[in-house]
């Protein structure tokens, strides 16, 4: 199709090029209103207050509360991205050795799809139900005598929230990384063996270098995923606002201070900037990794 886009348009003709463009107008109109305008609103409104340009909103980000939240958000996202990537990567390899259309692979990819994409509030509930005061796992831990005395840890960003975030990060890693692992050809391993290499040589010299860009790329993706997550954190943490998305939500709902909405937009812009930086690195890496892997 890309070879000769113009050939054969005769039979489809009868409409001038301008007419052909009219066919995509609804799509572009819709995405302009509901996607592009909102994005522009965030970018522009971050620099506007009371109708004129200002850096006040961005400067307001300098307050301690936001910087702490930003730092905690970045630490949480980085930690869950790295742990999630390592565990999810090992899981992806394990699953890739199973039969391609077997029930195990289908089961795991479906389960991971649910946990990674559709969970939200329910995932927080799952952990409250299991690790909360009357939870099944807390009861087990109490019986074994290893559990912490209170369940307060569950609602702290660097303990409970981190654990719940892993609950969707590991599955996401599997979904993102599985295609890369499946791109490893058995022939490469056989070639290594023929040349006298051991399993270790294969991993060290062949598989790891090939998978490394995809692995780092997937890790970055996990980072932005955790960084943008809101629902799970909101359902788990109700007292404070330790993370950026929660702070944005706070400015959104509080109508006590006028102009808070614009600070919220500046926070949103800060999020977009972080995500954009990470995604740029990701795009660059993805170009490199697709050299070897036919997807």
């Amino acid at each position: 199709m890309a070879k000769s886009p113009r050939s054969g348009t005769r039979a489809l003709g009868g409409i001038k090029p301008s007419g052909a463009l009219a066919g995509v107008v609804p799509f572009f109109a819709y995405t302009t209103v509901f996607l592009l305008i909102p994005t522009l609103v965030v970018i522009i409104a971050a620099f506007v207050s009371d109708g004129h340009l200002t850096l006040g909103n961005v400067r307001a980000l300098g307050n301690a509360g936001f910087l702490t939240a930003l730092k905690q958000s970045i630490i949480l996202s980085a930690l869950t991205a790295i742990i999630g990537a390592v565990v999810g990567g090992i899981l992806a390899y394990a699953v890739s050795t199973a039969r391609p259309d077997g029930i195990l692979k289908r089961f795991i990819t479906s389960l991971c799809g649910v946990l990674a994409q559709f969970g939200g509030v329910a995932l927080a509930f799952a952990f409250i139900a299991s690790f909360g005061a009357q939870g099944m796992i807390s009861a087990w831990m109490k019986k074994a005598g290893v559990g912490p005395s209170s369940t307060l840890w569950l609602y702290q960003w660097d303990k409970g929230v981190l654990l719940v975030y892993l609950y969707f990060q590991i599955p996401l890693m599997l979904i993102v990384f599985l295609p890369a692992v499946e791109g490893l050809r058995p022939q490469w391993r056989e070639a290594t063996e023929t040349l006298g290499g051991t399993t270790w040589t294969y991993w060290r010299r062949v598989a790891m270098p090939i998978l490394f860009p995809s692995f780092v790329g997937a890790t970055l993706l996990l980072f932005t995923n955790a960084f943008s997550a809101y629902a799970t954190a909101a359902a788990l943490v109700s007292q404070a606002q330790p993370l950026v998305p929660l702070q944005i939500a706070g400015t959104f709902t509080s109508e006590t201070v006028l102009g808070q909405a614009n600070v919220g937009k500046a926070m949103a812009l800060a999020m977009v900037v972080v995500v954009a930086i990470v995604m740029t690195i990701y795009a660059w890496l993805d170009k490199r990794s697709s050299k070897w892997l036919v997807r």
């Binding site: 463009l21 996607l35 990819t109 509930f125 299991s130 599955p171 959104f252 954009a276």
Partner: protein, 296 residues
């Protein structure tokens, strides 16, 4: 010394052991909180089990009298799913087909726009949508169902991937040329030729959208609208058992949808790329990173 055949067998055995150990450990981590949910909803204070929560949940009339908010949220979510799917299909199927037929130069741009929502955090989208929605609510009234307009944007990437996989599998150009030369109108081509051929792709795009809409929380909560997730969240503060049960049910529903779709996708074709339409549709690779390659 072991020959190559026995060496391969040994590798296979090792891989199988490694696979089962890893999968069991991680599955335990995945399943335990879910089992914890089930345990929580069936527990009685003095030990023992009860199905009371689940019986209540299955009893429609009891739910609607005792938990009107839950009923309201559920109905809203169902309505939102329908609206989202209808608009999504009406927007994407003709546009993507049209771009393939007449404007191949625009395919990258359309792909970029469709995958863009993956890189814009939902919470940021909410901030930007606030002025848009103040107009929508002002012009059309305060119905929760208008959120469907924003949900279409949320499901764009997933729907796009699913439909794109479907369009790749058929020769749209030849099909529509044939239909056109036999005198069919463009509408007829779309309705009678393209759509029936895209059945599976349309179905998986729709189911993915429904699962996503049923799980949506961020936008509804911040616009103070009550959908299923928001109702569940609010109920969690007063009646934890019911809300945990609803949460478990929604997860199980999404799992059933994805699991069923993994079989639907497999029947289509032998090509490696198309054997994983689900993974392709769910994997959130960002815009313009070459994850979808043009055949050259």
């Amino acid at each position: 010394m072991a020959g190559p055949v026995s060496q391969r067998a040994a590798v296979r055995r090792k891989q199988a052991i490694f696979r089962w150990v890893t999968v069991s450990l991680v599955l335990a981590f995945f399943m335990l909180p879910l089992i914890g949910m089930l345990d929580f909803t069936t527990k009685v204070r003095r030990g023992g089990r009860t199905m009371a929560t689940w019986k209540t949940l299955m009893n429609v009339s009891e739910i609607s009298t005792k938990y009107p908010a839950l009923k309201e949220g559920f109905i809203a979510s169902i309505g939102l799913s329908v609206i989202t799917v209808v608009i999504m299909l009406a927007l994407l199927v003709p546009t993507m087909t049209w771009v393939r037929l007449r404007l191949p130069g625009m395919s990258r741009l359309v792909e970029f726009i469709c995958l863009l929502p993956l890189t814009v955090p939902a919470i940021v989208l909410v901030v930007g949508l606030a002025p848009v929605y103040s107009w929508v609510f002002y012009l059309f009234g305060e119905s929760t169902l208008w959120l469907g307009l924003a949900y279409v944007v949320l499901v764009l990437p997933y729907a796009y991937r699913a439909l794109d996989a479907g369009l790749r599998a058929i020769d749209v150009k030849t099909l529509s040329e044939a239909a056109r030369s036999l005198g069919a109108s463009w509408f007829r081509v779309m309705w009678r030729i393209v759509l029936p051929n895209l059945r599976t792709a349309v179905l998986s795009a729709s189911f993915l959208s429904v699962a996503l809409v049923l799980g949506e929380f961020t936008i509804a909560n911040l616009f103070s609208r009550r959908n299923l997730q928001v109702a569940m969240y609010q109920l969690g503060k007063s009646d934890a058992k019911i809300s945990v049960a609803v949460g478990l049910l929604s997860l199980v529903f999404a799992f059933v949808v994805l699991f069923a779709m993994s079989f639907v996708g497999a029947q289509r074709s032998g090509s490696r790329r198309r054997r994983r339409p689900l993974a392709a549709a769910v994997a959130p690779a960002p815009a313009g990173t070459g994850s979808v390659k043009e055949p050259s």
